[in-house]
């Protein structure tokens, strides 16, 4: 499954650790929430980056104390019609100022890229190779956004205000 990060297809440095897999000595690991929470101190002490896979029905507040210490948070879309992780992503970015890698996992298709970028995701485990290759093109599909989110894109309402004011200056 190709990983898109920073707009490009990249190698995934993280290994996903199952609940019962032995802890590798080095290397970057993505740990399921349950295991992470029960053993956070030990996990964070070892060499290599640690990320956490956070399910979409687990309260994000529980993750907040660790946000400064993890290198990545992977949120889950069990199917692409289940949109709970969009709310989790916005909370992490906009309320808790999480700045590390925010990865979308699960059923990720190109048709969600724009929504996900707007919600704060910057990393995508894309299901189909063709969708991963089309990432940049798809991400630019829209130039108009009606809602303010933490991604900083100018909303239609504000662009209209800017246009109004610049017109005002000219006349």
């Amino acid at each position: 499954m190709p990983l898109v990060n920073g707009g490009k297809i990249v190698d995934d440095s993280f290994v996903k650790l199952a609940v019962d897999m032995p802890l590798p000595e080095g290397g970057d690991i993505l740990v399921p929430a349950e295991r992470f929470v029960s053993d956070a101190d030990a996990l964070l002490k070892r060499a290599g980056k640690v990320g956490v896979i956070w399910p979409n029905n687990r309260d994000i507040d529980e993750l907040v104390p660790y946000l400064g210490k993890v290198a990545a948070v992977a949120l889950v879309f069990p199917t692409f019609r289940d949109g709970r992780a969009y709310s989790q992503a916005r909370l992490l970015r906009e309320r808790y100022n999480y700045r590390g890698e925010l990865r979308a996992t699960g059923q990720i298709l190109r048709d969600q890229f724009v929504f996900m970028l707007r919600a704060g995701f910057d990393s995508f485990e894309v299901k189909k190779q063709a969708d991963a290759e089309a990432f940049m093109q798809t991400a630019k599909r829209y130039s108009v956004f009606y809602q303010p989110t933490g991604d900083g894109r100018v909303t239609a309402l504000h662009r209209r205000m800017q246009l109004r004011h610049s017109e005002g200056v000219g006349t």
């Binding site: 949109g83 709970r84 969009y86 298709l109 108009v144 009606y146 809602q147 909303t155 239609a156």
Partner: protein, 551 residues
Amino acid sequence: MYAYDEIDRTLVNERVSEFRDQVKRRLSGELTEDEFKILRLQNGVYLQLHAYMFRVAIPYGTLATNQLRALAHVARKYDRGYGHFTTRQNIQFNWIKLAELPDALADLAKVGIHAMQTSGNNMRNVTSDQWAGVAPGEIEDPRIWSELIRQHTTLHPEFSFLPRKFKIAITASDHDRAAIKIHDIGLRLIRNEKGETGFEVLVGGGLGRTPFIAKTIKHFVHGRDILSYIEAILRVYNQYGRRDNIYKARIKILVHELGIEKFSREVEEEWQHIRNSSLQIDDEVIEDIRSRFTYPAYEKLPHMPDELRQAAADRDFEAWRKNSVAPHKVQGYSIVTISLKPTGGPPGDATAEQMDALADLADKYSFGEIRVGHEQNLALPHVAKRDLPALWKTLDKLGLATPNVNLITDIIACPGLDYCSLANARSIPIAQELTRRFANHELANLIGRLHINISGCINACGHHHVGHIGILGVEKNGEEVYQITIGGRADESAALGNLIGPGVKFDEVADVIEDIVEAYLALRERPEELFIDTVKRLGVEPFKERVYATR
């Protein structure tokens, strides 16, 4: 009218091009039907019994004449020459081809019409009072706020994959024509004691398998905070709404399971985090939207012009005027409702020729504006009273002057088993038969205001729970059986109807309705007591006795 600017137009065009790519990927097999389903639903495309069905949004029920002509064009070019107006200010085309859909959308985009989020588990077309901006006594034009919310809910990055569909309706009049109490969020525009504009917010209304009337969650939310308050409701719903069972996934179930107090506390807590964010709306933003709504340059006209006085001698004209013409906030003007319920016809259908002709009439007599109401009728919102006789003559020729607005034959019905893959029973033939039974205008007038609503399955697209008489078609042992309720209503006193007894067969429905009506005529205290008030006074029993005594 709201005029799209370059920004709105760009977004609609970008959406069309995205959908064109999605259709292409589906036709090439790159997308599975399972994946494509969600994408097409977000663009208003259902797969029905015979073909794809295409649902187009008419935000807050306002149409310009070029837009109505574009809908006629789609009906003619891509469909079978007609369209069906729905109970949520949409129009549906029933025979569209998948490969042609992107072109149909592109044709509509040219006049600022789209089909975004007319189906799927997202925020649906924002609906409002079809008399917005012209009804006497309204607080202010609710379409300004409807448009603000339309923009905010369009392609929302957080709430496009909700547990289930989500519908918002807005009213600004004491008399609720937008049925806000049967919506996921209902907004009633009000002024507080300081004279500030805001909303009473209701939540958790809805019909379907488990009907609920919406409850007030907050008595006053200031206009500048309305987007953050809606966003807080949606965020709580998106995270905690049930996704394990499609029949328990609407927000009404979450509100019911948590209780309105606990639910409102959750929303309040979330709201406090976001109310002072960029979601807060400046007056300037509202003014900008307001400035793009244009209003007609009304003339100073007499209350009773000569043309109207002379036409009063014509009984047919008078019957129509008394039935279909309502007071306008400007003297000398009227709001004219166009009944799409001719005797024997499917409720809410209009042919391409009728749509084109109505567009011409709206240009001539209504400052180029048409409205669509949830009762599946249209309206011309600004007709000078002196023009009423001439307008009526043309409408009559077009088959659009049936004087039955709000009467027993002004039936709301879903498409039912004739089109819909979810339906268990037919709806349209029941409606057609009832319009024939009560075709006599004197009889219908004698009965007075009476709303019949028909749904062909438990999903309740015909809003049967809130019909004065509700008819629900179900399937029992391979046969269509109809359950009949009375006493429902969808207005400011919204209530769910009560079952009068065991279901009846297809062939018996019209007879049963006749029995109910006869019982009402015998039971009412005086001719002014409406059916709904008689039911309220007496309950179901006397009607039940009458219907089942001989069955």
